[in-house]
Structure formats: structure tokens, C-alpha cells
Symmetry: C2
Subunit: 304 residues, 2 copies
């Protein structure tokens, strides 16, 4: 049985704009014991890169710190330019439980230890965000990051924006970092047979948690230029709390009220198997199904 | 990336009736390099035990032979008594592909190499069965085993029952073994809101491949005494060729013709995640879903 945690640190540099810095960060990630570097994305116009690492709790805790340390050595935020909002050399460090024996609570504790060490050893302050947040407004990364690197010195002096770890001033070159735990996120979009984006917007508003819908669903209506149709675009931020089929069935019902049908859906990027299996269990009416006991792959992962 | 194959050898002995023999077989399985002994089932009244091993192709090929060798040393079929049909000390050796990069064809080739070695080194003949079968009637294990250990000497002399490997005579104490490759099997049952088992029987006949239904579905109607309802009990012998939702939707449609509804379903034991995920993909109308790329757990298994 091995516990696995995912860490998806975001750095304010890119392969395109600073290949030497990028490569040194990749080296740290590749050589980290107990971890596998699963994916690396770099965007030159954002001047930002995102690593996906999966590993043991100990391995992930160490690599998160080592990467933040290396990024602080190599990146000077005073010189950083890019389209994506950012506030630190290591901008964001999320931790995500990836095997059934790892709890969100463990990831929250881990995020706090990493934040503390980054302050103690690197003098970089941090906000705890997402499920690690200490106050509701800090759950939202965009709110933490508002003002960006340049506006942070002033923001940190505001009553409600003291860092969770560290003093009320940024690191002179590495800025400030958002650190937190969250559940795996599933990007689930539902396409409608209408070109009226207002319908998609109304449905999105009805189903998202922020306006009274499903607690763990974020959603907006968008228009797909290439297909000429409207889409309800969702982030399912906890697929166990709000399963995908809840939103599918609710969107279907609400769309029917406008005489509109679901054409199809899409899952963007990765999803944990259970987000899909829970839907199969519902639609096939499977009684007494124990996902973690009955799905072969969980046993294969346990054997790791 | 690691290739994993499952092997589920059946031996004509049991923990209950011959603990010393049973333990020696378990020892071989436990100490096999490149394999994990996943599960052991023993049935005293059947006087039979079933091991589930998962491992690398090389590891599985070796342990299958070593177990057959140990069983031949320890089990004398002339003394074996039990309720389950059987024909050899090692009665059956199925090989099942368990990761996406292992093909059924590889498992068929592996089964032939193991059968050849068991003949060459142990002088135990074998039938190739399931997808390794060299003629249609040998696909069916029950047909291969008919006559059992005691009737085999005579059966092997019949024109059409020469072993696939070995001469037309059984090993004097170890008998003969069925060896073959097959896809993972999913036991999927559908419960109806009727006590009329004839309806379940008619539906089972309509959907099973043997009588004109879905090629990879075996099915019978049974009556569940404890619940007082009829059930369509199925073995899905290739869930990619005949997905579970095909049978669910067809049973629903046929049952409706009798004024009967589906109450619920059950999955007995293990299932590969993809058997469920394919159903979610269908019911949620997911477009362009690439299961092996988009399901996180496949990547975790690839990292093994």
C-alpha cells in the first residue's frame, strides 16, 4: 500500500523565456527521491510553467520545498513579465490527495508544514488557500493574488491580508506564494444544441454552488465559436461531494425547460477513475458497489 | 511503464483437506520474483484452491511453471476427492492481460510456452482452452474437462481429443491441465421486479451470444430465493467487445415488453475500471474521451 499525493507547483518562468532557469527546476523535480515528475507545461507568453509531481507524502513535502528554494535562487520577480497573474517566483503550490488512504486533512497539514519551512528557511511568506485557507476569502486563489507581485507590499499591510506564514512584507525577489490543499478537480463541460449563450449562462448560474446550486460545482456559460453552440463549462472541485451525474441530470432538466438538449459533453484533461465509476454505478443501478474493493486497478496501485 | 498479467491457477488440493500441500504451494507463489500473490481461495468440499497472481510477463510465466511443478510433486490425483469437476493436480491455468500495453495475443503466446515447458520438463499434457484454443470446442473449459481425471485416459484416445501439448496419455499422478488466455471477466447481474424466473430466462436467452445475442455475453435466468425476485445473471467475457451498458439497455428494453422493470444490478467481485468508465462515457455522452490518457490511475500504474 503506498500513499500518493500530487503536487502541481506553478513557477514564474518558462522554457521559452529562460531555458537555463527552467532546466534547473526540471532537474530538481526529476531527481527528487520518492517522486515522479509526471508532466511539465510551459507557456512563453504567460512566462510561467507548471510541474505535476506524484509521490509519497515525504517525497512530495521535500520536493515542494526544494523547488521553492531553487526558484527563489534563480527567479527575480522584479524582472518578470508575463500575461498570467502572479505574485511569486513559486506562485502557487497545491497538494492533492491521489490514493484512497490519503485524506484532504493530511494534505492540509502538509501544506502548513511546507509553508512554515519556506518562511523559516527562505524568508518567503505565504497565503494558505483552497482547503487550507484560514479565512473564507483566501480559499479563492484569484483573491489572494489580486494586486500581483507589484501590489503585494501594500496589500500585506491591510488589516485582513497578513500572510499566514511570515511577516507583512514580501521576499524582495521571490515575492509571496499561495500554498494549499484541494481535492482533484475535474473539468466537465456540457454542450447544448443552441447558439444562445444566455441559456448556458442561466443554467450555469442555477447549478453552481456560488449562486445556490451544487456546492462543489463552479460553472459559466460560454459560446464555442468553432461549433456555433453554447456550453455549460464547469469545474467540479469535489467529485465525491458533487458527482458529475448530478450536474449532467440537472443541466438536462434545466435545458429541457428551454426546449434545448444536451448534444454531448467533454472531460478536459485528467480525471480520477472514481469520478467516472460513480456515474456508471448510478446509471447502471449497481447495488452495494464498493469501488475501492471491486475495481482491479486500485489493487494494482496498492501493490506499488 | 510496467506490463502486468494476471494468472489464476486452480489446484486440486485445499487448505482444509491437506494444509501441508496447500502451504507449500502458497510458499512458491509468495516467493516468486516479479509477482504478487493477490488472493488465495480454498474450498474444502471442492478440495480445490485458486490463487490470483499479478506480475510481469516473465514473472508470471515462471511462477505458472513452478506452481505446476510443485503441484505435480505433491498432489496425487488418484487420491483426490472433491465436488468440483477436475482433471489435473494443476487443473486450470488462465492468463489475463491486466494493463493496456499487454495484448490478449501476448497472453496466448505465453500460455503456449508454459504448456510446452510443462510437457517437456514435467511430462504433463495439456489442452489449450479459451482464446488459446486450437479448435472451437476447446474454448469451453467444461468440454475440455468432461470425463474428469478418471475418464481422461480413454478420452485422450478419441480422434478429436489429442492434447495440444504432449502425448495421448495423462501424467499418472498429475493428470492433464487446461491452459489458456482470456480477457478479464466481469460478473454482472440484473435484478427484475418480478418473481417470474421464466421472464429472466427468456431475456437471458435473447441477450447471450450462444443463442444470437451479444457475442461476449453469457447469461442465465435465476430466482433469488432470499429476495423473491428473478435475475438475469451474466458473465461478460469481453467488456470491450460487449460493454456492460449494451446488456443493461437491452435487458431494460426486453423487460419492458413484459411490463417488468430493472430494480438494480450487481457486480460480483473485481472489475477492471474501464468496464465501468466506458458506461459513464456512454451515459454522460462524453465526446472524444481517451480513457487511457485521461484517467489518472492508468498513469499511476504506468509509473510502477
Amino acid at each position: 500500500m503506498s500513499k500518493l499525493i500530487e503536487c502541481i507547483p506553478n513557477f514564474s518562468t518558462s522554457k521559452e523565456q529562460d531555458p537555463a532557469v527552467f532546466e534547473q527546476l526540471v532537474e530538481v523535480a526529476k531527481n527528487a527521491p520518492g517522486c515522479t515528475l509526471f508532466d511539465v507545461q510551459s507557456d512563453g507568453s504567460h512566462n510561467r510553467c507548471v510541474f505535476t509531481l506524484i509521490g509519497s507524502p515525504e517525497g512530495i513535502e521535500e520536493v515542494a520545498f526544494q523547488l521553492a528554494k531553487k526558484a527563489a535562487e534563480l527567479i527575480d520577480m522584479n524582472k518578470h513579465q508575463g500575461q498570467h497573474p502572479r505574485m511569486g517566483a513559486t506562485d502557487v503550490i497545491p497538494f492533492v490527495p491521489q490514493t484512497k488512504d490519503v485524506t484532504l486533512e493530511e494534505c492540509i497539514e502538509l501544506s502548513k508544514r511546507v509553508a512554515e519551512r519556506i518562511w523559516n528557511e527562505l524568508q518567503i511568506p505565504s497565503f494558505l488557500y483552497e482547503d487550507s485557507a484560514t479565512r473564507p476569502e483566501r480559499k479563492n486563489l484569484a483573491k489572494c493574488r489580486k494586486g500581483q507581485f507589484e501590489g503585494m507590499p501594500e496589500k500585506l499591510l491591510q488589516e485582513e491580508w497578513a500572510p499566514d506564514y511570515g511577516e507583512r512584507k514580501i521576499h524582495p525577489t521571490a515575492g509571496i506564494t499561495a500554498i494549499g490543499a484541494r481535492m482533484p478537480l475535474v473539468a466537465f463541460n456540457i454542450n447544448l444544441d443552441t447558439d444562445n449563450v444566455e441559456i448556458a449562462n442561466k443554467i450555469a448560474k442555477a447549478i453552481r454552488g456560488s449562486s445556490g446550486g451544487f456546492k462543489y460545482c463552479k460553472g459559466i456559460g460560454i459560446f464555442l465559436e468553432d461549433r456555433g453552440i453554447a456550453q455549460v463549462s464547469m469545474n467540479m472541485v469535489n467529485y465525491e461531494g458533487t458527482p458529475l451525474y448530478y450536474t449532467y441530470e440537472m443541466v438536462r432538466a434545466l435545458a429541457a425547460g428551454y426546449g434545448v438538449n444536451i448534444i454531448g459533453t467533454e472531460i478536459v484533461g485528467l480525471t480520477p477513475a472514481k469520478a467516472m465509476i460513480d456515474c456508471a454505478e448510478y446509471y447502471l443501478k449497481v447495488e452495494n458497489f464498493n469501488c475501492h474493493e471491486q475495481i482491479l486497478e486500485y489493487h494494482l496501485i496498492d501493490m506499488m
